[in-house]
């Protein structure tokens, strides 16, 4: 109990005293996961929309691929990205291994299927005739898609929250492709693993408290926006 209390006190002290390393780690966590989720939204929402509105017979096949992607183990993603970005790998020439870009790529691969899959299920919850009705009122394809997104904004927000929650909390892929390098690729989760392995439980608890507060603050904001729409 004492250890937990010490950890929480240390977390508070780190915040109050503005430890630059902690701020750098926290900022990198936000930057990597925020960029990954943003790119996942930009790519995953349109692809999910195409899949939801498609009448192709191959839809079920693609949907099962997406659903498999939603459960991708981060270490498997880390392994694949490592092989690709390794100095002698097919994309080794890019020199991205052990950089935040590699971590962002890995987190994007984890988040994109989640955003895509939840976009599909969110849009499929709408009345399928709504698309026909909007077209019958003279909507262009883009106008139809925009209004369908507006109608499905609650599940779409949920997709963003779930995706962000998954990537900010993942450690396996970030460790493998980032390497947990101090002042370069160390993020909150990898720092927690490191401090835990060194026996610095109080610092690990402090970092965990920061991570939890961060996730709570962001989720609270998104939930507030989401629930505001219900009123």
């Amino acid at each position: 109990m004492e250890m937990i209390w010490d950890g929480l006190q240390q977390a508070f002290a780190l915040f109050v005293h503005g430890d630059p390393e902690i701020f750098q780690i926290t900022w990198l966590s936000l930057r990597v996961s925020g960029t990954a989720i943003l790119v996942s939204i930009i790519i995953g929402v349109p692809l999910g929309t195409m899949l939801a509105l498609s009448e192709s017979r191959a839809r079920k096949f693609w949907l099962s691929i997406v659903h498999t992607g939603m459960a991708l183990p981060p270490v498997v993603v880390g392994l694949v990205i490592s092989i690709l970005l390794w100095r002698t790998g097919p994309l080794g020439v890019l020199g991205l291994m052990y950089t935040p870009a590699a971590m962002t790529t890995a987190q994007f691969i984890i988040a994109a299927p989640i955003v895509m899959g939840l976009t599909v299920s969110g849009l499929q919850q709408l009345d399928p005739r709504l698309k026909d009705q909007l077209m019958g009122l003279g909507a262009s394809r883009l106008q139809v898609v925009w209004l369908l997104w507006r109608e499905a904004k609650l599940p779409l927000f949920a997709a963003v929250m779930v995706g962000f929650g998954r990537v900010i909390a993942e450690v396996g892929a970030s460790m493998m492709v980032g390497g947990n390098l101090k002042s370069s690729t160390r993020v909150l989760t990898t720092a927690i693993v490191l401090e835990n392995s060194k026996g610095n439980f109080a610092l690990a608890i402090a970092l965990s408290a920061i991570l939890l507060s961060l996730v709570f603050a962001i989720t609270l904001g998104l939930t507030w926006i989401q629930q505001k729409e219900l009123r």
Binding site: D127, D132, G136, L137, G138
Partner: protein, 366 residues
């Protein structure tokens, strides 16, 4: 009356599966054309195809004589308006819902305000302007949906069973208002319904779609009194369809022998021609045996009540009639009021007499 929309050799599909083939259909400018048929026959698919919301497998649709192709779709869809069975309103205010189509067309804000308020008032829902569409009753939601289509002042209005989801009193109220509105704006309308009464009330012409395609397209009275085939006859409520043969013809009048009985009908058929003898139940008058007054009806049958069943405010009576020799029998179905049924003490086994005019009979070649 010139045609506004024509369709030819259309093979309709839904999710890649062929639904039916439509050889030809013409919608005339200013008319209300009702497309009626049983559930699941493909009426809604036809409406969505004609509105260019779903593509046919093949065939041609022309608007004002100009064939439509996939490039014209948006332009065409902005000259029409579609209202589907359920209101399908957006999660927004009533005002914004009614303004949806106008915003698609880039109508200036001031004009939107004016048009939306005009149509909300015409449909008696202007007091709901700022209410969330999710908090409307079924009737109010349907009025909003109707306003959303009418505010576009479309050249052609497509309505897919617009009153189906409503309870009877709400439907009656909205139907009455809609009839007045339609007469007022003279909007060319294609109405899909399975409700014969609605078609009779609103339509200038009726197209009957049964399994296999379009079977008849005519004025409502013509379709209801002179169905083109036995399928149409059954669908429009011609309950008595009996096989017969023409035994005499004279200046538009004929004698048709049905189950050994000679009955008079109006029509132009050849002597000896095999026909189907069709009678609407409401064209038959029922009398208690021995109470028959003097009547101008040319056909008189005697029979015994087989069964009775209530049908709305009326009673459906099935009567088994026999020829004079007591040999062959035929079943005739009549609709009478509940009062008449009570007065005549109609019940199974009761002896009755039936009369109907020769002009009430419609014969179809067999």
């Amino acid at each position: 009356m010139s045609s506004i929309l024509t369709a030819g050799n259309l093979i309709l599909q839904r999710s890649g599966t062929e639904v039916f083939t439509l050889d030809s259909l013409v919608v005339r400018e200013g008319e209300v054309l009702a497309i009626i048929g049983p559930n699941g026959v493909g009426k809604s698919t036809l409406l969505l195809t004609l509105a260019q919301i779903i593509e046919p497998l093949s065939g041609e649709i022309a608007f004002h004589g100009n064939p439509l192709n996939t490039q014209d779709t948006l332009d065409y869809r902005r000259q029409i308006a579609v209202m589907l069975q359920d209101p399908l309103l957006l999660n927004d205010t009533v005002f914004n819902n009614v303004a949806t189509g106008l915003r698609f067309r880039g109508t200036p804000r001031r004009q939107i305000e004016e048009l939306v308020m005009t149509w909300l008032a015409r449909l008696g829902i202007d007091h709901l302007r700022d209410r969330s569409a999710k908090r409307l009753s079924g009737g109010e939601a349907q009025r909003v949906s109707l306003a959303r289509a009418l505010v576009l002042n479309p050249e052609l209005l497509f309505l897919d069973e617009p009153f189906r989801a409503l309870d009877a009193p709400t439907r009656a109220g909205l139907l009455a208002d809609f009839r007045i509105l339609l007469a007022d704006v003279s909007m060319t309308t294609l109405l899909v319904t399975h409700d014969l009464d609605q078609a009779l009330l609103l339509a200038d012409r009726v197209a009957i779609i049964l399994e296999g395609g379009l079977r008849q397209c005519d004025a409502p009275e013509q379709v209801f009194s002179a169905p083109a085939d036995v399928g149409v006859a059954n669908f429009v409520g011609v309950d008595t369809v009996l096989p017969g043969v023409v035994t005499a013809v004279e200046s538009g009048q004929m004698i048709v022998e049905v189950a050994g009985m000679s009955l008079e009908a109006v029509g132009q058929f050849d002597l000896g021609q095999q026909v189907l003898f069709c009678l609407r139940p409401e064209d038959i008058t029922l009398w208690a045996a021995g109470k028959l007054p003097a009547t101008s009806a040319r056909n008189l049958l005697t029979g015994r009540v087989e069964s009775t069943a209530p049908q709305g405010a009326l009673v459906r009576v099935v009567v088994q009639c026999q020829d004079n020799g007591g040999g062959k029998a035929l079943m005739v179905k009549a609709l009478i009021t509940r009062n008449s049924a009570q007065e005549m003490e109609i019940s199974p086994g009761k002896q009755v007499q039936l009369t109907f005019k020769a002009s009430a009979v419609h014969c179809i070649p067999r």
